[in-house]
Point group: C2
Chain length 498, copies 2
């Protein structure tokens, strides 16, 4: 028995077997394929109604000290394996939400366990460096064999950060400094007395009224700068002061794409034109445009590679930086390591931000002029966390060892075909199916979305939504065709209950 | 031999002994005291000029991919022990800067090593949760036995974050939501259509023009909201758009305090009056005032407990929230666990933010109304990192086991007395000595500050500055009297070289 997981995990029995209802699937439908993790459950297991008594009690306890109103489920990570997530009542669900799209190589991945037990990890955890001042002797190696090994084409440097929001905000800061440096005439030009004085009062010209342009329905984070570029839902933004920054329209494509090719092309053209107009005319000059390859939180909104190539051209033509936010799309989920690899850009983005599946964060860049002209302009105490950088290195190794990008592309195609069949069968419940050729980064609209998502646990699946009416699939990179079979059957079961 | 460190560390010999110059100290000056870490070096060791050849080569390599212009020294953390930091050339320095005040219990602390090797740590590292949605079964326990065990008096809840900047910014967000909720008439009042629409355009009333008040010379972080409250140095702020928020004057006290009691009280009174005037008159209404107990990055500026009590009264009287930023002062360094414990407040601060020595971050609060009225208003994917929360728990355990707050208070008094003697001897080089009774959180001004800090490594000490002319001491909580002796001798050696 190839007990790779079991031996290193010392798994307790996942559920009390007497009470367990294992959700079997129709055998002839199951794709035959070698599982990445031999000890993964073969199907979800339901032991109680969800949430069960243990989960309810634990939530009540946690609520005393920690806001649990956004709680989905208390999780027993020691009992979660591969694509399966366990709660505290013996329920084990197929997880296609994966910690809001942030788990890449499965729960309790044995290779990551080795990384977590390594001497480098121990020293990173107990001797946390101020990376800008006192990086460790092996920090260059950790970067070169990890974060930078995965760097997008054309970008060979990194500024490390903690999470998606500050990754984006530090990229914005780099963009503003670059913009003003160019206005000043280069890195050698000193700041004026007026700049030095006004910035201490938060006033222009020292604190200039420049802007970052984002797109309608975009999500780029929740801190003050990133939230000013987030345009997905009012609930994220209400009551929080924001910068007077512009938003461009994002294409609203019609599906199926092949039936609306001309309309969609026109729609994208309209959005590009409006984007360029806003860059030229917005009263607070635009230093950079930021865009997600697929708007995720905002409802899984796609645009074509031609649209993004057009955007790159516009930013070039108007001397505006082009930032691609790959926080949710990055690290393999779309069937390429970076989603913007689908675009065939002539010149790379100026900056690419990452987080989530990378388990660490930051922005990549290539142009040396994006390093601010003086030290301590882009700086903070920790500037990321080497412990999490080591985890990303382990993830990259696992992606290579198991060919997980290729797996995700192939599994995604298989899953998409299955969903297309279901969409024909249940057109009312599976509208605007999208993400074809984008790995497992697949979504559709459904009129009873919240009900759909809520009922999913009852058939053994943990699934998420995005935007107002979309079901978004965000399985891990270790999601295989036999998992897709279970998911497809589960989707049908849910639809039949609606 | 009580080889607690050596056995768990498997330390390689720290330096090539033949080349090493051990900096011995005058024996009769050394305080007799049981060292916390028997295997800590007894004195700094210098093997090369600093930076040595290995450090230079490593810096050159790192610079290719990572901006190293703020580099202080490449560090070999595997060879660093307790209060001593090692570089790549065999130099071992007494570290009184401690990763910008963020290492509390010594390099390679054996208890933290055990925490790092624990099953809870491994699972936290390889199964990173989205804490708001899928917290682990033991998250309440981890909080209650860790972060919340150390909670300031009167504050019993926490919102966890990644680092100081987002800890402060999420506290600001809570303050803005609280302010607007009160204006609306309570948590039950629904948002208006106008609010929902305008916030998507970053416009008032949905995105209101409210403000956070901070103080001149304050430092609260470097993201867009926190940077708008940072007022320490132009280099942090230049070229970055900022909110139109007010800054109040921070008292400029004269030293020695006992010789300027009346003047200083008047100065504090003046600042309090101006603070209240700004709260009443600033065109963007003030939702909260944030203050550091000791302005750290801004130059180690102190104010009296009476000043802070006055501030608490003003905020109460004007219905403005009072946020205490304990990112640098918290976790024992001032001889109390929280620096604001020195103030004897009648009512606790509304929020207290923490990071650095906690090795994780967030804000504490007590008033349940500071939880936003709906879920997902204060939220992000990770909301901190349980791995780092486990480290903080280990730090708290170590602080308790070794009585490190008491140690820091006593060592601080001892060190301060020694510095007072030096100040009498070298009044030109040790001006405005401050931090009496504040543990080891001690600083002074010196006309040749940068030169002083640069020369420190040559006598075996790693030391930092703050503001324009201050030398700031930020030793760890495991800094003992025998370390203070070495530091005092080193300070004198440096002064003699100036």
């Amino acid at each position: 028995m190839a007990a790779l997981f079991r031996s290193s995990l010392k798994l307790r029995p996942a559920t009390r077997l007497s009470a367990v209802r294992t959700l079997t699937t129709t055998p002839h439908l199951r794709a035959a394929e070698k599982p990445f993790f031999p000890d993964e459950p073969t199907a979800p297991k339901l032991a109680t109604a969800i949430p069960g008594p243990n989960n309810k009690a634990a939530a009540e306890k946690l609520d005393k000290v920690f806001d649990v109103r956004s709680l989905n489920m208390l999780t027993d990570y020691t009992k979660s394996t591969g694509n399966y997530i366990a709660d505290l009542d013996g329920n084990v669900l197929l997880d296609v939400y994966a910690q809001i799209a942030s788990i890449p190589v499965g729960y309790n991945n044995p290779h990551l366990r080795k990384v977590a037990e390594s001497p480098e990890m121990i020293t990173s955890l107990i001797n946390r460096p101020a990376l800008g001042n006192f990086p460790s002797h092996d920090w260059a190696d950790i970067l070169n064999t990890g974060i930078l090994k995965a760097a997008p084409k054309g970008l060979n440097q990194v500024f490390t950060a903690m999470a998606g929001s500050d990754a984006n905000e530090t990229a914005y800061k780099a963009a503003f400094m670059y913009y003003r440096q160019r206005e000043r005439g280069g890195p050698e030009t000193e700041f004026t007395e007026e700049e030095l004085e006004t910035t201490m009062k938060n006033q222009s010209p020292g604190s200039p009224q420049l802007s970052i342009m984002s797109f309608k329905s975009a999500f780029h984070g929740r801190l003050f700068g990133s939230l000013s570029t987030t345009r997905s839902k009012p609930i994220h933004k209400l009551d929080i002061p924001a910068f007077d920054w512009p938003q461009a329209p994002f294409p609203a494509l019609k599906y199926p794409l092949e039936e609306h090719a001309q309309e969609n092309a026109q729609e994208e053209q309209r959005c590009l034109q409006e984007t360029e107009r806003l860059i030229k005319e917005w009263h607070n000059p635009v230093a950079a445009v930021i865009v997600e390859p697929i708007q995720s939180e905002g409802g899984d909104n796609h645009a074509s590679p031609a649209f993004f190539r057009g955007l790159r051209e516009i930013t070039k033509r108007n001397d505006v930086l082009f930032i691609v936010d790959e926080v949710q799309t990055g690290v393999g989920a779309t069937g390429k390591f970076w989603a913007h690899d689908h675009w065939n850009l002539e010149t790379p983005p100026d900056m690419v931000t990452f987080s989530k599946k990378a388990q660490t964060a930051g922005y990549y860049y290539g142009n040396p002029a994006l390093r601010p002209n003086k030290p301590y302009r882009q700086f903070n105490t920790w500037m990321g966390d080497p412990a999490r950088a080591l985890i990303f290195r382990g993830i990259i190794e696992e992606v290579e060892r198991l060919n997980l990008v290729e797996n995700t592309a192939a599994t995604g195609d298989y899953l998409f075909a299955g969903l297309e069949r279901l969409a024909k069968q249940y057109p009312e419940h599976l509208q605007n199916l999208r993400g074809k050729g984008q790995g497992t980064f697949i979504a559709w609209d459904t009129p009873k979305r919240d009900e759909f998502v809520a009922k999913a646990k009852g058939v053994g699946v943990n699934i998420g939504g995005s935007g107002v009416s979309a079901v978004r699939l965000r399985p891990m990179l270790v999601f295989q065709k036999h998992h897709a079979d279970i998911l497809l059957e589960s989707v049908e079961k849910i639809i039949k209950q609606l």
